[in-house]
């Protein structure tokens, strides 16, 4: 059975109203005026139960327009994050509602054979599957001191899923890229109105990596609407913003894409800097955010919890971009680092789950966790500050009370 989008087949939702919705609108104008008066009550009700299809009630609403939803900690306790609990990060107000039957993706630029591919064309490439985590570059940004610019995510702008699709490499090579193809830019169908379209590029080497995919399914289901139906990029281990949703074009270009989502956003200082330093040129002195550093956090207990004194099972996840996790260690109240046990191994792309049983005496405790990846890099004690608050990967610290 085919999907039936609210605005009609193949329609892009551009923030305006389709014919069908206009009927609803005229009928509900009076209702909306009444709502405006009762807005505070309605808003609280909506905050508890967002009426967004495919999204679990209980997702934390960071913003409604653009839709940004964070996963609370409990759904992050399973190795696979369910689709309706997966964090949603959109850049623009509104989102694309596309149809497999009318979807098309062009490939142009530094190619010998420009292409226009439809859904049936995509099915002819070899199908592959990859379990990988996807994370927002700003996950844990709320932990930076001093505060850094942007959405103040806690730990839940990350999830681990089983992705199915085709290799980007196979699709690109079918267009005969030329030697001038140094970067691959993905253009999404985010309704942008007068604003620039959502475009981000990755270097050709990452694009041709056999684990970089164009995916159609998430955990065995067609991509949910908010996760990029029908086709999105899967650039494993790299910033979430590179995993462009609702792809409508791929441009092969000689230099990094010259658009605001590459030049004005998603860049980071290559050397440590003082937060009071304002002398930099963001687009010229900073480099694009790409592969994530090693990170980990507790999934159980949750900071602020009160638990019975005695034996406590501490659990969490650990992951690093394009490499595996070598060890996770835990320190209670500044004491010696003790190794946690990996309970579910991951990979260079899928996250790891770990556990450690500790004995906690009555009173307050601070418990820190740090992971080390296969390349020998360990999480730092403090976040590495940068003006737009990306890549926060300091030790996660729980404050607990045992009574």
């Amino acid at each position: 059975m085919d999907r039936e989008p609210a605005a009609g087949p193949g329609t892009e939702w551009n923030g305006g109203l389709s014919r069908r919705a206009l009927l609803y609108r005229s009928g509900t104008i009076a209702g909306v005026v009444a709502f405006a008066g009762a807005w505070p009550l309605v808003r609280d009700a909506l905050a508890q139960e967002p009426a967004i299809p495919g999204v679990a009630a209980g997702m934390k609403v960071i913003s409604r327009s653009p839709i940004n939803l964070e996963t609370p900690i409990p759904p992050l306790r399973t190795w696979i994050t369910p689709n309706d609990w997966f964090f949603v990060r959109l850049h623009l107000p509104g989102y694309a509602q596309l149809n497999r039957e009318t979807w098309q993706m062009t490939i142009d630029g530094a190619v010998g054979q420009p292409l226009r591919l439809a859904w049936a064309d995509m099915q002819r490439f070899t199908h592959v599957e990859l379990t990988a985590w996807v994370q927002c570059a700003g996950n844990r940004r709320g932990h930076f001191q001093p505060k850094a610019a942007g959405g103040q995510w806690d730990r839940g702008a990350v999830g681990n899923a089983r992705w199915s699709g085709v290799r980007l490499r196979d699709v690109l090579l079918s267009a005969n890229p030329t030697v001038k193809a140094h970067h691959v830019a993905f253009e999404g169908s985010d309704p942008n109105g007068a604003a620039p379209p959502y475009v981000r590029s990755i270097p050709i080497e990452k694009a041709l990596d056999p684990n970089t995919l164009l995916v159609f399914e998430m955990n065995g289901q067609p991509l949910p609407t908010l996760h990029g139906f029908p086709v999105r990029a899967l650039v494993p281990g790299w910033v979430g913003s590179a995993n462009v949703k609702w792809i409508r074009a791929i441009h092969l270009v000689e230099e990094e894409w010259n658009g605001p989502y590459m030049k004005d956003l998603y860049r980071i200082n290559p050397v440590p800097m003082n937060p009071t330093d304002k002398t930099f040129s963001f687009s010229q002195d900073f480099v694009p955010t790409t592969v994530f550093p090693v990170n980990s956090f507790f999934t159980s207990p949750v900071t602020g919890d009160t638990l019975p004194a005695g034996s406590v099972t501490l659990a969490g996840v650990a992951y690093a971009g394009e490499t595996g996790i070598a060890k996770i260690e835990v320190s209670v109240d500044g004491g010696a680092w003790r190794p946690a046990r990996i309970t579910t191994p991951g990979s260079a792309y899928a996250w790891y789950q770990w556990e450690l049983v500790e004995t906690l005496a009555r009173g307050r405790h601070e418990i820190a966790a740090r992971a080390t990846d296969w390349r020998g890099r360990t999480q730092p004690r403090e976040g590495l500050w940068n003006p737009q608050g990306y890549f926060y990967n300091a030790w996660d610290v729980l404050a607990l009370t045992a009574s």
């Binding site: 989008p5 923030g15 609803y24 104008i29 309605v42 610019a149 290799r167 399914e217 737009q388």
Partner: protein
């Protein structure tokens, strides 16, 4: 890492666009866009002391959890001030999880993602890129609107102006009093 499955895949697709969901979805969007589409925002108060030619403008960021000032984005709100007046701007943010700010920037900066500069000395708060949340005290800044023209009142947090978090500030010769109107 990647497992290959060359068998053809058949998918059962759930239709989650049931009538009830559609209605709920449209209602959600209407409520979310009502403040910009239907003008259910709240025009900010603009005070004026004619003796000292001092304008005071009070803005609220993130009405209805969206990227706007008082419910207006993309230039839907137009504030006019007399040339030469002293303008005091206060902005509070009602969102807890997304920081916002405001500054007066040249009109053409409203499509940038970052790298904003104030159009007049003092026409920006400190740390406008970091901004404030609802947990922080309001931002204040004061400037002299010394040159007539069209300027952008925009949010300095990266990525926000780019997607429409800006409105219009006109500095007008010979204006007897400031105003705030909507388009």
């Amino acid at each position: 890492m990647v497992s290959t499955d060359t068998h053809e895949r058949r998918h059962t697709r759930k239709c989650f666009w049931s009538r009830a969901s559609q209605a709920a979805f449209v209602a959600f969007l209407l409520l979310g866009t009502a403040t910009t589409v239907l003008g259910a925002g709240t025009v900010p108060p603009v005070g004026y002391d004619g003796a000292t030619h001092t304008v005071s403008l009070s803005l609220t960021a993130a009405q209805a959890d969206a990227y706007n000032f008082n419910g207006y984005a993309g230039g839907a709100l137009v504030v006019k001030v007399p040339t030469g007046s002293t303008v005091q701007v206060t902005m509070r943010n009602v969102a807890a999880d997304v920081s916002h700010s405001v500054l007066v920037a040249p009109w053409d900066q409203r499509t940038k993602g970052s790298g904003f500069t104030p159009a007049f000395p003092g026409a920006a708060p400190a740390d406008f890129e970091t901004g404030i949340t609802s947990h922080d005290p309001p931002l204040h800044f004061t400037f002299s609107a010394r040159s007539a023209g069209t300027y952008a009142l925009l949010c300095g947090v990266p990525g926000h102006a780019l997607i429409g978090m800006w409105d219009e500030l006109d500095v007008v010769d010979g204006l007897s009093a400031p105003s705030a109107t909507t388009k």
